[in-house]
Structures are given as C-alpha cells and as structure tokens.
C-alpha cells in the first residue's frame, strides 16, 4: 500500500515479528508470526484485518503499539518514526488498544473509575482529583454508561458493558488511532451490533482511525473501508472492502469468503462452497514457497519454488499469488 504515504497517520514498512521458541537444550526455532507486512492507515479510516487463528493478526496489532518490539521493519506514526523510548511514550498517548476478552483485560480489583483513569495517571495528564473524576465521567458518557458505574467493580457488569469500559479506557488519552483486537468476538450476537455502532459513532465524532482485527468477515466487511487478509504471517490480499468481498482474487480469500455462513437459508443452501483440505500448517514448520500451497486447490510446482510477492492487481488492490 504505497499510495497515500504522505496523508497516512500510520505506516509500516516490512514489519517483522519473529519469536524464538526453545525446542530443547540450546536449541530453538523461529516462529515468523509477522513476516514483512507493509500497510498504511489514514486518519479517520478503518482498516480491517482478517485471518484464521495463528495467522499473526493479533501480533500485528500489538507490534504496532510496541507491546512487542518488532524484530524488523519500520513503523511511522503521525509523521515520526517509532523507535526511541521517547517516541514510544509519545505514540502511546495517541494510540491505544481494545482487547478481545473483556473479562481478562480488566483488573477485577480496580473500580471502573480507576481502570478508565489508569492511562491518565500513567501519563500524568490530570492534576487534581476533580479533574480526574470529571474526565472519567466524560468518558462514561461517551460509551453510554451511567455515572454511578464509576465506583463499581468489574464483576458487576455484563460482557457488553465490560467492553464499553474497555473502550472508555482506550479513549482516555484522546487517541487518534485504536487497535481493535477482536472487540466483539466474545459478545452475544444481540450485543455485537450495539458495540459496532458505538465504534462507528466514536469514529465519526472523534475522527479516530481503527485497525479492526477480527475473524468474522461479516463484521469486518461492515465496518472497514479496506480489508487486509493474512495467512501465516503474510498479507495475501489487500483491497477496498467491497471489492474484496465481491470479487476476491487470492484463492485463500475466495475460500475464506465461501466458508462464511450467511444467515439466509436459500442463499446458504444454493451456493457452492470451497471446502479447504487439511489444517493450517504449524508456523514453526512452514512449507516453503507459498505458505498457502498445502491447502490451495490451484497450487502448482511453481508455488513450491518461491513465495509470491504482494503485487498490485487492478485499482488500489494487491494480492500475493503467482496466478493472478
């Protein structure tokens, strides 16, 4: 995604995150969780990131915020390269994260007020107690929770309410960018729509940019302007949301889309489904060449020789496959 570099709020170039896993005495293996990912997000825009478990989508989100130090590549945020301690601290004032599990990502021993105000305390933003509680109440308003909830503990809330608290915490510093890591996956269907609408409202109101990570393509399609599909640490396709869902190009995207169940009996029963053979290979033991070739219905010997690069194909879209 080389276009719009100048206007971008966040860019990564060849971002890499390799983990060393010990496999025995003085032996270790490398897991290429994220292996050369480049993209950019403009302010006020949502980039969707989809893929199956283990494809590295969460690692991308965490590496962007330097929760893991990247092992390669560059991150530019708001015009500055993120590398020094100083730049990381500055970046974290303007970028935050909402986690998947609203049960384990909020401390059960802290009150809602303390949870929401923790970023303010860490960055020493508020001077007085009044200012602090005033800000917390503003944030509770933003996520449509009553002020009385400030003094309560997490166990008193339902999943949807907890996720609202998580969002309030992410908003505390007045960020420009939020990594949303599967924020609705743990919620009941009837609650998901509430939270998705809230993300959209906050974006319109505050001009936020999102990296929206999810495995549910229906949700990602709804909220994103662009969608990036990852498979085993690499981006296999990236395109505007509508184009990706209407005319997927990469065989993996095609099969992923055809596997998504549609809540409509006639459509669901009449369509032909591409059912992939086998499982995702272990990231410790990649097949070599194209990572998808072990499950790809169209793989040939060329796919085993070298990994296809992500190349442009059509307006504003890229795919990594030799046969596009």
């Amino acid at each position: 995604m080389t276009n719009g570099q100048a206007a971008g709020l966040l860019q990564t170039e060849d971002l890499k995150q390799h983990f060393l896993i010990p496999t025995g005495f003085l032996k270790s293996k490398t897991i290429r969780a994220v292996d050369g990912v480049s993209f950019s997000i403009r302010s006020g825009e949502t980039l969707g990131l989809v893929g199956e478990s283990g494809c590295g989508k969460t690692t991308v989100g965490r590496t962007l915020l330097y929760l893991y130090k990247p092992t390669g590549g560059r991150i530019h945020f708001d015009g500055k390269e993120i590398r020094s301690e100083e730049s990381i601290r500055e970046m974290r004032k303007k970028a935050s994260i909402v986690f998947q599990d609203p049960y384990s990502s909020l401390n059960p021993r802290m009150t809602v007020e303390d949870i929401i105000a923790e970023p303010l305390d860490i960055h020493q933003i508020v001077k007085t107690k009044q200012e602090r509680s005033h800000r917390v109440r503003e944030l509770l308003d933003a996520v449509e929770l009553p002020h009385e909830h400030a003094g309560r503990y997490i166990h008193e809330f339902s999943g949807g309410q907890r996720q609202r608290i998580g969002i309030a915490r992410a908003l505390a510093m007045g960020p420009k960018f939020i990594v949303c890591d599967e924020p609705v996956s743990a919620l009941d269907v009837s609650i998901q729509a509430q939270i998705i609408n809230m993300f959209e409202d906050l974006q319109a109101e505050l001009g936020l940019a999102y990296l929206f990570i999810a495995h549910n393509l229906n949700v990602v399609r709804h909220i994103s302007k662009r969608i990036m599909v990852m498979y085993l640490g690499k981006v296999v396709e990236s395109a505007p949301a509508a184009a990706l869902c209407d005319s997927p190009m990469h065989p993996y995207t095609k099969s992923l889309l055809s596997a998504v169940p549609i809540p409509d009996p006639h459509k669901e029963r009449s369509r032909t489904r591409i059912v992939l053979e086998g499982d995702v290979p272990s990231p410790m033991d990649l097949p070599g060449g194209c990572n998808f070739r072990t499950r790809c219905p169209e793989a040939t010997s060329r796919c085993a020789e070298a990994a296809p690069p992500l190349t442009g194909c059509g307006t504003d879209r890229q795919a990594a496959c030799w046969y596009i």
């Binding site: 399609r221 809540p263 409509d264 029963r269 059912v275």
Partner: protein, 340 residues
C-alpha cells in the same frame, strides 16, 4: 410417534441466590433424520436443554418437571440402568471445546475403544478395529497412526472430528451438537459442518444443533427453535424463522446481523437495546419486555402464550395476538393499549 419427544420440560438450578429456572416449560419433538437448530444467546438455556435430555446435569441443577421420551420410553426419573443404555448408544453428544472434552493422558484410540467396549459387546481387538474405522469415517487420514496419538498432538479441527467419531462409534440415532464449531476457524468450521451433513446422510442421524450463529443454522437445519430466558419464544421451519419472523426478539436478532452480500452491507446496524436478561430477576410478564421496542401494557402483566402463525410456525408474542384481533375486527379488550 416421534423419535424424541420433549414435553413441558423444566430444569432449575438451586443456587444460594435463589432458584434459576434455566429451562422453562419447553416442548418440541424430533423426527428421524431431521436436523433441528436451537438458537439463543448465552444463558438462554440451550445447553441446559441438551444436558437435561442427556441427563448429565450437575448439582445444583435438576429436572423439576415435564417429560422426555426417546422412542416412547420415558427418560425423566428413569433408572440409571435405562439411561446408561440410551446415553451414548442411542443419543450421543459433542461439546463446544474439543480440548477439554478429551482426556489429555490417554491416546485418542484408547478413549474411542473405551466408549466402544462400554456400549457394545466387542472385545479389545474388535474395538481397536472399530476405532480405526471411525477415525477413517470422519475424514482423518492415516488413522492407524492417529489412534496412537494424544489429543495435544491434534489440531482443533481434528479433535472435533475425534469427538464426532466417539459420539458416532455406537451408531446412535440422535446426535446432540452443542456449539460444535464455535471454537474453530471458519474454514475448519466449513469442514466440520460438511462432515456432519455427510454423516447424517450416510447414517440417517437426527441432529440437534445448538448454536448462536444464525448463519450455521441457515445452512444446516430444517427447523429452528429460538430460545430466550429459558423458553422457546418462536419455532418453525428455517424459512419461517428467517423470512417471516414473528417474535420481536427474532426480528431484532436478524436485523442486528451484518452480512456479506446482503443489500444493506454498509447501512447502520439496528441493535437490540439493553443487556441480556438476568435469570435471577425475571420480569413477571414477557421476559423480553425490557429490551422490546414494541412492548404493550399487557406484556408487563402476562406471559404471552404460544400462538400458531401457520402450520408448524409458532411464536409467543402479544403483537401477533393484537394483529390477529385487528385483522378480524374483533372488539379489543385487554390489548388495545399501545406502547408507552
């Protein structure tokens, strides 16, 4: 006579905070070879229904009324011997999380053999043969090697296949699948659902599929039960439920789903307001009332009765009664008050 008939089933959990009626006056029947879907959000009583049928409720849960008949035989209050002859033999179950449902210290083959020897008269060698056969049936390659492996050596999709193999090893007539694909990725989910469909054709199984994913239901089930707060609030064919929903909850659920390929891809979602119901503090009238945007006065005082919409399609919502009264131009008495 239906293969499985559940009539007025009620199951409660007696907790220190009070009685929780997890399943409340639930009735349905399952025919041979049929697939029935039970949908609802967490806490709506879907799983407890399955546990009640299998009689695997744990303390403090207890069936407090109603009847469950398998092939004419009553299961509620039956002897342990009777239920043992049915559980696993005639009705089997697979669970959501295939990792915690398999024993990590025994090999896959060991666990399959145990189930087979327990329920049939096969000896050790025959059971091993049957185990390999079953592993092959569920589409795992290299079955001779796989039976010697431990659950941690298998992927999530393969573990779920092993669970299915175990459930089907004794040739049951009914398979209860409790969120069988929730823990799996979509491409693996597609594999498992295809497998279940194929095995159903091959073995003539009846399936009760419990899920919260309406997309899965649309592809798999002929008929659907929608549960809310322990009750079936709407039931009918998949077409009835998806194209002509008659309960405000079902309508809301379908409206709130984003879906690829629908005409309203980019439109704002219409969520159901409020939070899921607190089972310890159920309202007196309709349990969905606090979240319903078309509630009427009568909904506060009286629980709506099930009303037939057309053949096989039933819903429990006062709005339908109101519509019926208006259509027939009958004098409206109790129900004329509109929403506040």
């Amino acid at each position: 006579m239906s293969l499985l008939e559940v009539r007025h089933l009620s199951t409660s959990f007696f907790t220190p905070a009070g009685e929780v009626r997890a399943v409340n006056d639930l009735s349905f029947s399952l025919e041979e070879g049929e697939t029935i879907g039970i949908v609802g959000e967490s806490g709506s009583g879907k799983s407890v229904t399955a546990y009640s049928i299998m009689q695997i409720l744990t303390h403090p849960g207890r069936i407090i009324g109603g009847s469950i008949k398998y092939d004419g035989e009553e299961l509620v209050g039956c002897t342990d011997k009777t239920i043992s002859s049915i559980r696993g033999n005639k009705i089997s179950m697979i669970f959501q999380d295939p990792m915690t449902s398999l024993n990590p210290v025994y090999t896959v083959g060991n666990q399959l053999e145990e189930a087979i020897m327990l329920h049939t008269k096969r000896d050790k060698a025959q059971s091993r043969k049957r185990a390999v056969e079953m592993i092959r049936l569920v589409g795992i390659n290299d079955p001779d090697k796989r039976v010697r492996q431990y659950p941690h050596e298998l992927s999530g999709g393969m573990r779920q296949r092993v669970m299915i193999a175990m459930a089907l090893a004794c040739e049951p007539n009914i398979l209860i699948a409790d969120e069988p694909t929730t823990a799996l990725d979509v491409t693996i989910q597609a594999q498992i659902l295809e497998l279940m469909k194929a095995l159903q054709q091959q073995l003539g199984l009846a399936i009760i599929l419990i899920t919260h994913d309406l997309g899965v239901v649309a592809g798999m089930c002929e008929s659907v039960l929608v549960m809310y707060a322990g009750k079936i609030i709407e039931r009918g064919s998949a077409e009835d439920i998806f194209y002509n929903p008659k309960h405000e909850y079902t309508k809301g659920l379908l409206r709130s789903l984003p879906s690829i390929g629908s005409d309203k891809e980019n439109e704002r979602l219409i969520p159901i307001a409020g939070t899921p119901v607190d089972m310890l503090m159920l309202p007196a009238g309709c349990a969905f009332l606090p979240r319903c945007d078309r509630a009427m006065k009568i909904c506060i005082y009286e629980t709506p009765e099930e009303l037939g919409i057309n053949e096989g399609h039933y819903a429990s919502c006062w709005q339908n009664v109101k519509a019926l009264l208006q259509a027939d131009e009958l004098p409206e008495h109790q129900i004329e008050e509109s929403r506040e």
